[in-house]
């Protein structure tokens, strides 16, 4: 059951990648899509400079608005983040993020002894909040050039998704861009390769320690429409949910932890069926949770 669920999730991640990055002509010609859908933010960390991208990355868009010098905050991008967060919280990370999918696939490679967390996990897990506040908001807004515009610090110096989905495919198919490769590209490629190698051994290191989008959606986990609950009467506190959880969450204590990516492994494993999602709660009620006509 748990294996089947994992497989369904991987296919769902692949399908979502195909839907949001399906401009195949871009990969062939080394160009990016230029249609109107590019103004709409997609839920996951999906670079808008990926040749196949049909939408905009919310973190890239947020920095584009903030570093433009024209706006002090972005109602537009915060609106999208709040919309996705309120609907599903970090379900986005587990099911709809292309870089999360890449890490999941790499973690399946039978190399190294698998571990959930990196050494120093207790402190490192706050890294994503530092990245969000410093590299996505403060630095792009405060370090301005002569024209009064800032740099997208996270995209420029950190984002491995941009290098993997945008940089590498574009440079592979567009010889004109290759001549511009310099120190920055080497740094970003080194960072990407490091994260990819770490992903083979550790479960989703980028999501756990660096992703600013996960930091935003995590805040919504306890209040989103899609939540988990634990039936106290059914739960036998066996700890099995934490054992199978790649994010190492004691689900029986914190079903809506900010770390939870809603992969559902705990639900599939739970021997007593104590863990349920808000969707299951609605389905389990007579008339789908809607009051019957006689009530």
């Amino acid at each position: 059951m748990a294996k089947r669920k994992k497989s369904i999730r991987l296919w769902c991640q692949a399908a979502w990648f195909a839907v949001t990055n399906g401009y195949l002509k871009g990969f062939v010609e080394g160009k990016i899509y230029r249609g109107a859908t590019k103004q709409v933010c997609v839920p996951g960390l999906s670079c808008y400079s990926c040749p196949g991208a049909l939408g905009a990355c919310p973190i890239g868009s947020l920095q584009a608005v903030l570093d433009s010098g024209k706006f002090k905050m972005s109602c537009y991008v915060f609106g999208f983040l709040m919309l996705f967060g309120s609907l599903m919280g970090r379900f986005v990370c587990g099911w709809l993020c292309p870089f999360g999918w890449v890490q999941d696939l790499l973690h399946k490679i039978p190399l190294f002894q698998k571990k959930k967390n990196m050494p120093g996990h207790r402190f490192l897990r706050y890294g994503r909040y530092v990245v969000l506040v410093l590299f996505v908001i403060i630095l792009p807004m405060t370090v301005l050039g002569a024209a009064g515009m800032g740099d997208p610090w996270f995209c420029k110096y950190i984002c491995p998704s941009g290098t993997l989905l945008g940089g590498w495919p574009l440079l592979a198919s567009n010889p004109g861009l290759r001549s511009a490769i310099g120190v920055l590209f080497s740094w970003k490629s080194l960072l990407l390769v490091t994260i990819l190698v770490l992903s083979v051994k550790y479960n989703r290191p980028f999501c756990k320690y660096l992703c600013p989008l996960g930091a935003v959606y995590g805040v919504f986990n306890p209040i989103a429409l899609y939540r988990f609950t634990v039936d106290e009467e059914l739960c036998v506190r066996c700890g099995g949910c934490q054992k199978v959880c790649g994010m190492d969450i004691p689900v029986w204590e914190k079903p809506n932890s900010t770390e939870c990516i809603r992969c559902g492994d705990c639900k599939a494993f739970c021997p007593t069926g104590a863990i349920r999602s808000s969707l299951q709660r609605v389905q389990a009620k007579p008339y789908g949770g809607i009051e019957s006509p006689n009530e």
Binding site: A64, V65, C75, S86, P152, K156, T163, G182
Partner: protein, 50 residues
């Protein structure tokens, strides 16, 4: 939907309405256009060249 569940869902539903209002404000203030301009051109910084 029973009252308890309705109460729990009130906050996310209110936030969804608020988020739609924020998106509408963003569109009317020209943020969407700015995002589009950025997204339809190759972002040199994003791919590690700029």
């Amino acid at each position: 939907m029973n009252k308890n569940m309705m109460k729990r869902n009130l906050l996310p539903l209110a936030l969804i309405v608020l988020s739609l209002v924020l998106i509408a404000i963003g569109v009317s203030s020209g943020e969407a256009k700015l995002v589009l301009t950025k997204a339809v051109n190759i972002c040199m910084e994003c791919i590690g060249i700029g």
